[in-house]
């Protein structure tokens, strides 16, 4: 190779990255990870609208398998640690602490200060999504609240009213627990901590130190386990039933009550018509209660090289009509006040039950061990307690030990 030839080639090689960088600036690409319960839904329409409004930004929307949350987060953590993470992604509160500890998130305050849509999202949603270090990393996107589905026809036949308290819940469950129908379709498999939470966290247990082993907490948990072991108002498959089983059992008329959110309302109505309705989950005797707030936000990652563009995209998804369009894909509820006002995707009784549940809503602690609690510690111990392999109190001690050593 001649010397001049070599030099010009080397020069070209050196210049290449600079050229691509200039190119990248002229058309920035935002990689966004999302998951929809229904994989046939696609955000393509919204992406097209955004790209039209924001020439120069391309959105690469990547659908990531959810797998109960664990598949999604395992991939997300691995990608972030490997330095190949997305610019922004859909995230939930139960993983916020881990992501903060990894220093993976970008605080959104500077962006939010300049964003006109901030006021259209209710204050309690902002507070709910704040991290324990006081910063705002999450931009709310959609939400659901868990409530109690029940069968008005079976309740009328048994002469009971939808329950408002734990005592009424037990009476109602016993009254309809016959002819191959179980009173309450309890979820003992993955995700079932939400069911347990309504009765045990609602009954006084907390995640603070000692909060799982207080007298009140132990009594609430004993009462809940006995619904299955003593009163037998759960189906026999309850220990391993997951989302699909509780919904299908309810639709098939095998259970008279279950707890889930508005995301399953339309398929319930399709199967049961007006023989399904909903009320907030029952409360403890002292009037307190707890129901799971199913949150979903977007976050921008600190390693992103396109943070401004990424925020533009996620704020686009959380504003007005776009947020309504987004939630018609996911079947959840819009976070904007303007969007909620004209919501028609679900029958009104389920939207009402959701709204009435807001005062009860809570989230699991923002703790690095919460994700493992929901995936393994809770199901393993709940299942053993329901099967009589351990005492209910041992279950609460195991949860206490998981969080507080």
């Amino acid at each position: 190779m001649k010397r001049r030839q070599f030099l010009s080639l080397a020069g070209a090689a050196l210049a290449a990255p600079a050229v691509t960088r200039v190119h990248a600036q002229s058309a920035q690409t935002v990689r966004w990870w999302y998951h929809f319960d229904n994989p046939q839904q696609t955000p393509a329409e919204l992406v097209a609208k955004f790209e039209k409004e924001n020439p120069g930004i391309k959105v690469q929307a990547e659908s990531i398998p959810w797998g109960g949350g664990n598949d999604y987060y395992t991939r997300l953590y691995a990608a972030l640690i490997a330095g190949n993470g997305p610019d922004c992604a859909m995230v939930k509160l139960n993983n916020q602490a881990r992501l903060v500890q990894m220093k993976a998130l970008e605080p959104l305050e500077p962006y939010l200060a300049k964003w006109a849509g901030k006021g259209d999202i209710a204050d309690n949603l902002w507070t709910m999504n704040k991290a324990s270090d006081g910063k705002q990393y999450f931009l709310p996107l959609q939400y659901v609240v868990l409530y109690l589905y029940y069968r008005p026809d079976l309740f009328a036949a048994a002469g009971v009213q939808p329950p408002k308290t734990f005592d009424e819940f037990l009476k109602a469950a016993q009254a309809v627990n016959k002819d191959g129908i179980a009173g309450f379709g309890m979820r003992g498999g993955g995700g079932g901590h939400d069911h347990w939470g309504s009765f045990v966290l609602g009954g006084g247990a907390t995640f603070d130190k000692g909060g799982m082993v207080s007298d009140k907490a132990l009594a609430a948990n004993r009462w809940f386990v006995e619904l299955g072991t003593k009163h037998k108002v759960f189906p026999a498959s309850a220990p391993t039933d997951g989302f699909r089983q509780i919904v299908d059992n309810f639709k098939a008329g095998r259970t008279a009550m279950t707890i889930h959110h508005i995301g399953s309302a339309n398929e319930m109505v399709q199967a049961l018509g007006d023989k399904v309705s909903a009320v907030p989950v029952p409360r403890a005797a002292d009037g307190k209660g707890w129901t799971s707030f199913g949150d979903e936000s977007n976050a921008v990652f600190s390693a992103s090289k396109a943070k401004d563009a990424a925020f533009k995209w996620i704020s686009f998804l959380s504003s007005g009509a776009n947020n309504v369009a987004f939630n018609t894909f996911t079947g959840q509820l819009p976070v904007t006040t303007s969007g909620a006002a004209n919501w028609t995707l679900h029958p009104k009784r389920f939207v009402d039950a959701s709204m009435q549940s807001l005062p009860l809503m809570g989230v699991l602690p923002d703790h690095p061990k919460t994700a493992d609690f929901t995936r393994t510690v809770w199901p393993q111990n709940m299942q053993r307690a329901l099967l009589g392999q351990i005492e209910p109190d041992a279950m609460m001690k195991a949860i206490e030990a998981h969080f507080h050593g």
Partner: protein, 299 residues
């Protein structure tokens, strides 16, 4: 400085390694490196969401496992799992192979059909069997109820006394075609003359099977058993889909426990230690397999 004579000799000595180099590099990249990394992780308290704080704990993870009740439960379940899955797959596979070695007009079709379970992805098999076992909507309960064998539906996967057996059955269904195909191939290598000679000597069908068929299949069976033990010992996909290890710890096996520790608790250090302990146990089987192969090659 090199003399004229040593130059070519060194080149001669290096040459085989140059030829081997591509294979060695690939083996190093996909096997040796990950293995060394696993070993490194197992000696550290490596938690994925705490990447800046990875203290060295020596054999701490291994000692922790020995005192861990779930480790021992999983180990016992692993032995039951391997013995039941491989044993039943073998018996069913042997029976199937003997049937498929008979001549009947749709034998070709039967041989193709029998391979289907083996060709299906494990996750599909897990989901399929989960719904077949379902308490309210499952076909197994429905058939047993109609046949009058049970009076109320059984929650097969939610009872600690039936969960492991139920998952084993699903895996037996998935794995028996492997044995069937291997043994069938072995059967076809046995010359007919052996059976004719045995018949002339007055051997019954059972004696023919016992003294002609089985000895001739010994090599195939031993190899298939060893391979299958290694695969079944490592497999966790079907359990993960069907029960996730539950109810309680009823279907926890060692690889599943290691997987959950790594990917749910994000305790990669402890998960790596569990995986290495399983690997050490399996090395005994692997050694048996390698010795067999070596012997066959010498022959």
């Amino acid at each position: 400085m090199m003399t004229a004579a040593t130059g070519p000799r060194i080149r001669e000595a290096v040459r085989p390694f140059l030829f081997l180099a591509p294979a060695l590099v690939i083996t190093a990249a996909v096997i040796i490196l990950p293995a060394v990394q696993t070993l490194w992780m197992s000696l550290h308290d490596y938690v994925l969401f705490r990447p800046d704080d990875v203290p060295f704990v020596g054999l701490g993870n291994f000692i922790k496992a020995l005192g861990d009740e779930v480790f021992w439960l999983s180990l016992v379940n692993s032995f039951v799992w391997i013995a039941a899955c491989v044993g039943l797959q073998f018996l069913l596979g042997l029976g199937t192979a003997l049937l498929l070695n008979q001549s009947f007009w749709w034998r070709g079709l039967a041989r193709a059909l029998v391979i289907i379970p083996w060709a299906l992805p494990s996750v599909i098999i897990g989901l399929m069997w989960t719904w077949m076992y379902d308490l309210n909507l499952g076909v197994i309960n429905d058939v047993l109820l109609r046949a009058g064998l049970i009076s109320t539906p059984v929650a097969w996967l939610a009872r600690p006394d039936t969960a492991l057996a139920s998952v084993v059955l699903a895996l037996v269904w998935q794995g028996f075609p492997f044995f069937a195909v291997m043994i069938l191939a072995g059967l076809q290598t046995i010359p007919d003359e052996h059976y004719e000679a045995a018949e002339i000597d007055g051997a019954t069908r059972w004696q023919q099977f016992r003294f002609v068929t089985l000895p001739a299949l010994k090599g195939v069976i031993a190899t298939a058993l060893l391979l299958r033990i290694i695969w079944v010992a490592n497999s966790l996909d079907v359990i993960l889909v069907m029960t996730g290890g539950g109810p309680g710890f009823a279907t926890h096996t060692l690889p599943l426990y290691a997987f959950l520790k790594a990917y749910s608790a994000m305790e990669f250090g402890y998960g790596a230690a569990l995986a290495l302990m399983l690997a050490a146990l399996l090395l005994v089987v692997v050694a048996g397999y390698v010795r067999r192969i070596a012997k066959e090659e010498v022959r």
